[in-house]
């Protein structure tokens, strides 16, 4: 490996060909994995695969963009929480707390709405977004603070904070934030003017309102923002250095504790933002089942994306497509939607295995 790095950089076209080949290999192995999983479930891959593709990328029966919109809608919370995870993990903070931070983000947003319900709609929306960022940042910050001042391992503290967040949501939706008729454990629906607008004109989606909402802009812009912050600023450098080698970072004069705290705060802010974006774009109300585990899925999503912002965007879209595809295939072809979860887990194991194998190959060849 080290020997290869010494050689002159290869030409652009060679690199493009290499990436294209890798992508083809990945797509092919994924298809084999998918077909294998479906066969294990006793489903005919020949009918199920087109149904999944149809649900993810479009279909004649809905009009062209409806399915694609579902893919992006499913990807939005994964993009934001995935970014949150990668920020923490790049700093060497193995945070499992995305789920709790997301819930606290949504809860903070809902609480703000509860108190300022009669201000103009765009202002409510804006303040809800701000509240979720602050709430998520605080929740992430607690774990960061515990680590830096009390040396409590963030793996443990974030998991526990997830439960506290979940039960806080439970208490809120059965207490102060419960809907007016007090019959269900949920908040009232947010009024339409507060919610994010649906972007796609009905003419493009076969006459049905597709769920793609303006919140997707936030998710898409958060990707380059995170990239710039991580790779073009001093803090970003300190963050990555701390993750690689905390001693080196300390020697270089960075306050490792401060960097770790910042990483957890930013990670929490991004996950919290995911909560309010989902609330304003899709759910419109909060209950204990608000998240099907986006904060947890974010970890495999970020890992699959190589812990880089661009990679996370791609892998979030990939899992969005898989979720939307299997959801739709359950309706149209009876494919159980849990297939998506099985594939998510299988993909992560494949990534981990490939990394371990590469690491061993590098050791054997005396590289790195």
């Amino acid at each position: 490996m080290s020997a290869r790095r010494m050689t002159t950089p290869r030409s652009l076209s060679a690199r493009v060909i290499k990436v294209a080949l890798q992508a083809c290999a990945a797509a092919l192995s994924f298809l084999i994995l998918l077909a294998g999983t479906l066969t294990l479930f006793g489903i005919r891959a020949k009918t199920a695969l087109p149904a999944i593709a149809d649900g993810a990328f479009g279909g004649w029966q809905y009009g062209h963009l409806y399915a694609l919109s579902e893919t992006v809608v499913e990807a939005v919370p994964l993009i934001l929480t995935g970014l949150g995870v990668l920020v923490a993990w790049q700093a060497g903070m193995f945070s499992i707390g995305g789920e709790g931070q997301l819930l606290i983000g949504a809860l903070s947003a809902m609480t703000v709405e509860h108190f300022i319900g009669n201000t103009p709609a765009p202002l409510i929306t804006f303040l809800m977004l701000v509240a979720s960022v602050v709430g998520g940042a605080l929740w992430g910050g607690i774990a960061g603070w515990l680590r830096t001042t009390r040396n409590v391992q963030e793996v443990i503290s974030t998991i526990m904070l997830n439960y506290i967040a979940l039960y806080l949501v439970g208490a809120a939706v059965l207490g102060p934030l419960q809907e007016p008729s007090h019959s269900g454990p949920e908040t009232a629906l947010l009024p339409d003017p507060v919610l994010f607008a649906h972007i796609l004109p009905a003419a493009w989606t076969g006459g049905i309102t597709a769920r793609l909402h303006t919140g997707v802009i936030i998710a898409l812009i958060a990707v380059p923002c995170t990239a710039v912050w991580m790779y073009r600023t001093r803090t970003g450098f300190a963050l990555r250095l701390t993750g690689r080698n905390a001693d080196a970072a300390r020697t270089a004069g960075f306050s490792v504790d401060r960097v770790r705290l910042i990483a957890m705060v930013v990670s929490g802010a991004l996950c919290g933002l995911a909560g309010s974006v989902q609330l304003l774009g899709v759910s419109a109300r909060l209950d204990q089942q608000f998240s099907p585990g986006w904060g947890y899925s974010a970890i495999p999503v970020a890992l699959m994306g190589g812990l880089t912002p661009g990679g996370t965007l791609v892998s979030a879209l990939f899992f969005g497509a898989l979720t939307a595809g299997t959801n739709s295939a359950e309706r149209t072809a009876g494919v159980p939607a849990v297939v998506a979860d099985v594939l998510l887990a299988a993909s992560v194991m494949a990534v981990v295995a490939i990394r371990a194998w590469r690491g061993r190959a590098q050791l054997a060849s005396g590289g790195d």
């Binding site: 454990p185 303006t214 600023t233 309706r331």
Partner: protein, 353 residues
């Protein structure tokens, strides 16, 4: 470099947030014109029915019964298998909404959201799909094309309460529920009412909620302390997790000091034949079939009339394995009450708030 840190963020993320915020507010106008009554069969098109479940289709309870009922609808309306679509495990509000919308968008005539959680999203999107009839199990609100099915499980719970009070040696009975929602609270208050009718001095322990319709372990953990406090007949409204209550009761029950459990939502007598005294099952078939038939013909009118024991939707089934332990005078009282409910002489109240 330091200077760019903040400004880049402001240059990128903040405008995005403002752009998204400025683009907020959405319309809810119908996208298709209404033609005929909601849920009515359109000539020349296949009649399509969808069932959306928040849990597993094989839960031996609430959801499984709906699956059985939808197949009864299929045979009653003589529909091909491709006319029926079932979506299970729509756990989050986002998935529930997506499924209702996707089915409606695909032109399904009748969409059954099997649980109160589908009511708010259905009421919200219904104006966009005037030709689709949304049926909300356990709902309570009516719109032009949204109808609730009010299951009066209270009828069965009242009889279970009578049985519990009559069979308790300690004079203490208990209730374990999954979520503290109106339908569950209402069932428990009917249970208490039935118990007091047999024994006015009966102690009903404060209801315990596990916040989980599927976790058997949590249900067992919630039950054990109740037994330790002396409760010896326990009703549950837990769906898949009810087996946890049965397991805990089975472990504590001895010949000298028997502890019993009661089944709800489904005939659960065989789930733990040694301890389940009786069950109050919900039978969705008569309601689903009746609504689907009327909707197909275009004669259905949304209504919130409850379906209970008199309509055959709620049942009361004693466990034959334990029937011999029920004293004859108690049995006579229960049978009399059952007949009174059946004939409309006794109306068990529902607490909807």
């Amino acid at each position: 470099m330091t200077a760019t840190r903040g400004t880049r963020f402001r240059r990128l993320l903040l405008p995005a947030i403002i752009a998204a915020t400025a683009g907020c507010g959405r319309s809810n106008a119908p996208t298709v014109a209404a033609s005929g009554a909601p849920g009515q069969q359109v000539a020349g098109k296949p009649y399509k029915i969808a069932l959306v479940l928040s849990g597993s289709a094989t839960d031996h309870g609430w959801n499984q019964d709906a699956v059985k009922a939808i197949h009864d609808v299929q045979s009653a309306l003589k529909l091909p298998a491709s006319s029926i679509s079932i979506k299970e495990d729509a756990v989050s509000p986002s998935q529930q909404q997506d499924n209702l919308r996707a089915y409606a968008g695909q032109g399904y005539n009748l969409i059954i959201g099997h649980g109160e959680e589908y009511q708010a999203p259905a009421l919200h999107m219904a104006p966009q799909f005037p030709n689709t009839l949304f049926v909300i199990s356990s709902g309570d609100k009516i719109a032009a094309n949204v109808t609730p099915i009010v299951f009066k499980l209270e009828d069965g719970a009242y009889l279970l309460g009578m049985l519990a009070a009559g069979m308790s040696h300690t004079g203490k009975i208990a209730e374990v529920g999954a979520q503290e929602i109106a339908p569950v609270r209402s069932v428990f208050s009917a249970f208490a009412l039935g118990a007091k009718a047999v024994n006015p001095n009966i102690t009903i322990l404060h209801p315990v909620y596990t916040n989980d319709w599927e976790d058997i372990g949590k249900a067992a953990q919630a039950t054990q302390p109740l037994i330790q406090q002396g409760a010896d007949v326990i009703i549950q409204d837990l769906d898949s997790a009810s087996q946890g209550v049965f397991n805990a009761v089975q472990q504590s029950s001895t010949a000298a000091h028997p502890v019993y459990a009661l089944g709800t939502n489904n005939d659960q007598n065989s789930a733990a034949p040694g301890v389940v005294l009786a069950s109050a099952p919900i039978n969705c078939s008569p309601v689903f079939v009746s609504i689907a038939k009327q909707a197909e013909a275009g004669t259905f009118k949304p209504s919130n009339t409850p379906y209970g024991l008199p309509q055959g939707v709620i049942g009361f089934i004693e466990n034959p394995a334990l029937a011999s332990r029920i004293p004859a005078p108690l049995q006579a009282k229960i049978t009399a009450a059952q007949q009174a409910i059946q004939s409309g002489k006794l109306v068990v109240p529902m607490k909807t708030q």
